[in-house]
Point group: C2
Chain length 429, copies 2
């Protein structure tokens, strides 16, 4: 391997891309704060026992785990579990309900593939100490707003409630519920034949397989899906509770003006910690890339660490995946984003103290943002640099100009140039 290689599955953006990535991060952060969420930075490294306690599924294979002295440590694989640990430790000092946001990296030793990275950025909002459909719907509306503000394709939410399937599996006395849920989770990935066969392999009776298939393949109008669920006539309390919550959620989705959503009973989410509402979402027209924001209710997760039960609901934007999609789709050309682009050149060593004082004044007093070229430079070389970096304006300090309190300003796009007084430069801001 070349000496400077990056390990596979890790990604670093070009400097131009990073500016756009950070613009997305900051927009998300602004919106989260605007809606009254408060930041949290949980530790990236935790005791493996803490992380794996309730991850379930295939997470124990995908975690970066290492011994340090006698300690068995791991890198977090999501933001939710370390946050739950934090809440467990500090819940007495936190006013509930608590609205928390986290923006940060997680790590998964997955097989690298399209849309999956070993180091991934997520941007989560969570509400703790509350179990209301109002909060769930509000959080989806905040997510919807972010996609609108960023001028991205419309987001479509696919929503279910775990209690519905759990109640149904209970009613039918299915032994291997986790096994069945894992197969349901693969509904989108397997062919119909393979999917049915996988259930048969678990010794599920044919009639119940039919029911499950009708459930997970029902993707029509919301009311049609509710009719199907009611016609099932399952009387298990979990089932009825899940159905009621789902209906209530739909009412609030309407109140919060969520534009695109579907009931999709094939959504179960990989992590074992979800207990109620669960959702995934796709960008319209870009469904093949998979979910860009997902989450759900995890009413027993904090209770995993302490005896006090604390309810919770979270939504997580997969920022790395989202950015990967936009990059692949060349979306940024259409993205409405501009940054300040000004460079200052010193052309002469003569009168340097005066020139420098003016440059500092420009930055500190007039609040003009610019890149100061780090050397005294010729006009020709300066123009090359300004062009290569795509600056829209170049400001030149020669020896004569400094004396007269003037500068040469060149618009790099039109080629226009002219002598300006310093005060004019500041006033244009």
């Amino acid at each position: 391997m070349p000496k400077h290689q990056l390990p596979s599955g890790f990604i670093e953006y070009s400097l131009d891309e990073q500016v756009k990535f950070n613009h997305i991060l900051r927009t998300i952060q602004d919106e989260y704060e605007f809606a009254g969420f408060t930041p949290l930075e949980a530790a990236s490294i935790q005791y493996s026992e803490v992380l794996l306690a309730k991850a379930g599924g295939e997470m124990d294979k995908e975690i970066y785990r290492f011994q340090k002295g006698s300690r068995d440590l791991s890198l977090r694989f999501d933001l939710t579990v370390p946050m739950a640990r934090y809440i467990a430790e500090h819940h007495r000092d936190i006013a509930m309900p608590a609205k928390i946001y986290q923006i940060g990296k997680s790590w998964r030793a997955e097989k690298p593939q399209k849309g999956r990275y070993r180091e991934l950025y997520q941007a989560d909002i969570d509400i703790l100490g509350n179990n209301s459909r109002l909060a769930e719907a509000e959080m989806l509306s905040i997510i919807q707003n972010i996609f609108t503000i960023l001028d991205l394709p419309e987001i479509t939410f696919r929503i279910s409630n775990r209690k519905i399937l759990s109640g149904l599996l209970e009613e039918y006395k299915i032994q291997d519920q986790a096994g069945v849920l894992r197969i349901i989770d693969k509904y989108e990935k397997l062919s119909k034949t393979d999917w049915l066969q996988a259930l048969r392999d678990l010794q599920i009776e044919e009639k119940f397989i039919d029911t499950l298939y009708n459930f997970v393949s029902a993707k029509g109008e919301v009311q049609e899906v509710f009719n199907l669920l009611q016609d099932q006539n399952c009387q298990h309390p979990l089932y009825l509770d899940g159905l009621k919550e789902l209906q209530e959620l739909v009412q609030y989705l309407e109140l919060f003006e969520i534009r695109k959503y579907k009931i999709d009973l094939s959504i179960v989410r990989g992590q074992d910690y979800y207990t109620g509402t669960v959702f995934e979402s796709n960008l319209e027209g870009l469904e093949a890339y998979g979910s860009v924001c997902s989450g759900g209710r995890y009413d027993n997760l904090v209770g995993n660490y302490i005896d006090t039960p604390i309810t919770g609901f979270g939504a997580s934007i997969g920022v790395s995946r989202l950015f990967g999609i936009l990059r692949e789709e060349d979306w940024f050309k259409a993205m409405n984003y501009s940054e300040p682009k000004r460079v200052v050149f010193i052309l002469s060593e003569e009168n340097l103290p005066q020139t420098m004082q003016t440059i500092i004044e420009l930055r500190d007093e007039y609040g003009v943002a610019f890149d100061l070229y780090p050397e005294i430079v010729s006009f020709k070389k300066a123009l090359q640099y300004a062009n290569r970096k795509n600056y829209t304006e170049a400001i030149f300090f020669g020896s004569d100009e400094a004396k007269a309190g003037e500068v040469l300003v060149k618009n790099m796009q039109t080629g226009e140039q002219g002598i300006l007084l310093l005060e004019d430069l500041g006033e244009r801001e």
Copy 2:
């Protein structure tokens, strides 16, 4: 251990503290961007070979290192080395000089102690492909600005140039230069007796020990230190070059109006990759906490990965350490920082659709930021929550108000309350 413990050496802030920490991070980011620096996010996990190639010192003991399959990986211990790797790989696509900033976490398996964390936030600026004192001084002025804007104690820079000591050690034909530099690095930590003895243990002759002691203990006026360096009459080209660079830097520090700086020849910096100017810095009156921003020139670091030599200089704010100091000194009470603090309560289920539409309008059309309480709540419980969370204003939607297009607004600090029309609420922003 309790099931929810955090591993020792890791730190998580309270929700109130995190808001202030993020305010500091964002101020730094804004200033870096204001001065024309562009963001980079290098991967946190790298091949161990890449990280350890030129770290030197004691870093190989302090690194989090793990095998994953056949790959020998490590968590980065600073932001500089992964950035150098990135530049090595992409330098052909980057216009030089390149000004880059990085804000992120690194990890060091150090013994936990005051001001040292195993997970630490740093905020770096670097310039690549340039070797000028103008750029070095500009970067210190950007750092100085940040401390001023944040209303923190004055920052004092302690500056040296590695070439001076290297030249001197060459001239005196010292074999174990790394050993001597390590002892010089410990000048502040050891007693005079122990420090002298450590040099004697390396078989350094007494006369040269005297010279070294005079150098590292010289902390008077800048001109006095320059006189001492000139009087030494060392003719080694490295020494002369270092002295010339240091004098040039001081000229630019004056031009950039750096208020507090000293020449301090005991500054060598731990990492082996530094080649020229090196610096540390302290907060005035809080020197005992150690350096809050440090860095230097590393002209051979990128060349460690590729054959093209690319010069570089960087400054790194130790944000975790800085925050630790401020926390311990209770600085935040004095810190000029306020955040928007408004909460909205729904008091009645009557007219809920109308209420919700108004709330959405308030957020989306009028741009009013608020925390929406996630349930329909009694006035009494609402007040308790608003008080506990220190909100400055509470807005109440009752059933009557919603009908009339009015809301009850309460100033939580004065206790004043009154009925406002919705349009008034928006217009106050």
